[in-house]
Amino acid sequence: MYAVVVEDLWYTYPGGSEPALKGINLNIKEGSFTVIVGPSGCGKTTLCRCLNGLIPHFYGGEVKGRVLIHGIEVFSRPTHELAKEVGMVFQEPEDQLICLTVEREIAFGPENLGLPREEVSARVEWCLRALGIDHLRHRAPYELSGGEQQKVAIAAALALKPKILLLDEPTSNLDPLSAQDLIETLVNLNREGLTIVLVEHRLELVAQHASQMVVLSRGRVVADGDPREVLSSRLMDELGVAVPKPIKLYRYLAKLGIKLRRPPLSPEELVDLLAEVKAANDTH
């Protein structure tokens, strides 16, 4: 069953001179950890907004094509219904948090849905535990660090129990350690069955965890598939995507006659593959 199906999606912002999205076709399986990359302005953020109903309901504009979330047609449902299927986390940590304590922030979503009070309370507890932020329960969001704020934002989105979590450059404003911590959190959530769709520039941190990599450029999908294949293609350099160093090294080594079994997505994988080559050499 596909979590997300995008069929020939075209979208133009109100007053836009040309479409921001030009015929996007995309399938995301349930349980996938999909990373969407592309140079600035390629349409990544626009695509995200189409997946949870912000486009067209919040942004207006002209939309053509279909987007299905677990089989539900996105464009014909109101955003608040889609919020139960797709949770979204945005780039600016602080601007997503509107309440004065973390507890209330997480309760906001379920409260909006009119769920019974015991259910709201249960979900708040569950989210605090799932994200490991119980100690932040009574703190004010604006007092927290960027990394903590993003965890609260994730918790607040998960309180609606969506099966898909969509994140638009959530680590942009975080320092590298917090970014790494956040990605680890996402990996754990993914292991427990949550489908993750992540727009990200910092591929060094995420490439090794991705099960699918989608590359956008100028409103079109230019690559979609296994991260190793996608990242080792020459196209990435042309587009200005930050190819992780292990893969760049893989290519240079290949030119020097050292062929690794497959493109490595992390330094650890790289040395393991080199060890294989060495072992093979030694047996000659």
Partner: protein, 240 residues
């Protein structure tokens, strides 16, 4: 800026903090109204001011309130001088006391009531949810705006913006501060709205509230005391 600190919420667990916002509202209004009724009557006014200040002290917020006091000095001096000139010393002093008591009574409410509680109280008092949410969000974003304003001032000063000389020049020089502030606030409001929509805002009219406000014995006592205070002040004012 320091003046505003007298009106922004300070976390705490004092007696006042734990009261229902509605009884606190009644308390603050009673003190404010009483001070107006008792204006011109020196000794009762001083007593009332002393009461207000001790309430502030009891809530642990007196130190927080001190900068506000400092910020009020220019206004207080103005009132003192004008009233002394036109009426007399005693009246002038009682006007200053009135000012201080009014500010103090407002602070008692705002320093001990979190915006979340306030918005909940407003809803309980039948104000539409959207309005009370707007209010509490506005309050929530005050520290954010203050921080941003400081960043903008720093950035523009580093480009040579002069914020020191000449009154008229300073007004014109506010444009490089106000434009980015307003533009960013508008952009931010879009981002906030997006986030709220993505969490089901507006899904149903029958919204749940996890936290509830309930009147306890202390609240009833406070409310009754506030009304008594008001009654006594009215009586005193009429008979004096």
């Amino acid at each position: 800026m320091s003046l505003l600190r007298g009106f922004s919420y300070v976390k705490g667990s004092s007696f006042l903090h734990k009261l229902d916002p509605r009884s606190k509202l009644l308390l603050s209004s009673s003190i404010a109204l009483s001070s107006i009724l008792l204006r011109g009557l020196l000794y009762p006014s001083i007593l009332l001011l002393a009461l207000s200040l001790s309430l502030l002290a009891a809530s642990g917020c007196l130190r927080r309130w001190a900068p506000t006091l400092k910020g009020l000095i220019p206004l207080a001096l103005l009132i003192l001088l004008v009233n002394w000139w036109f009426v007399g010393w005693a009246y002038a002093i009682s006007m200053v006391i009135l000012l201080l008591t009014l500010v103090c009574s407002l602070s008692i409410f705002f320093l001990t009531t979190s915006p979340d509680e306030l918005s909940l109280a407003l809803v309980k008092m039948k104000l539409p949810y959207e309005l009370s949410l707007e209010l509490s969000m506005a309050i929530r974003f005050i520290p954010t705006l203050a921080r941003e304003a400081q960043l903008i001032v720093d950035a523009q000063r580093a480009r040579g913006l002069d914020l020191e000389s000449g009154f008229i020049k300073r007004l014109k020089n506010l444009i490089p501060i106000l434009v980015p502030l307003v533009v960013n606030t508008v952009r931010r409001s879009y981002r906030v709205a997006e986030a709220m929509e993505s969490r089901g805002f507006g899904a149903t009219k029958k919204r749940t509230w996890l936290f509830d406000l309930r009147f306890t014995v202390k609240d009833y006592l406070t409310s009754v005391s506030s009304l008594l205070l008001l009654a006594f002040s009215a009586l005193f004012a009429l008979t004096a």
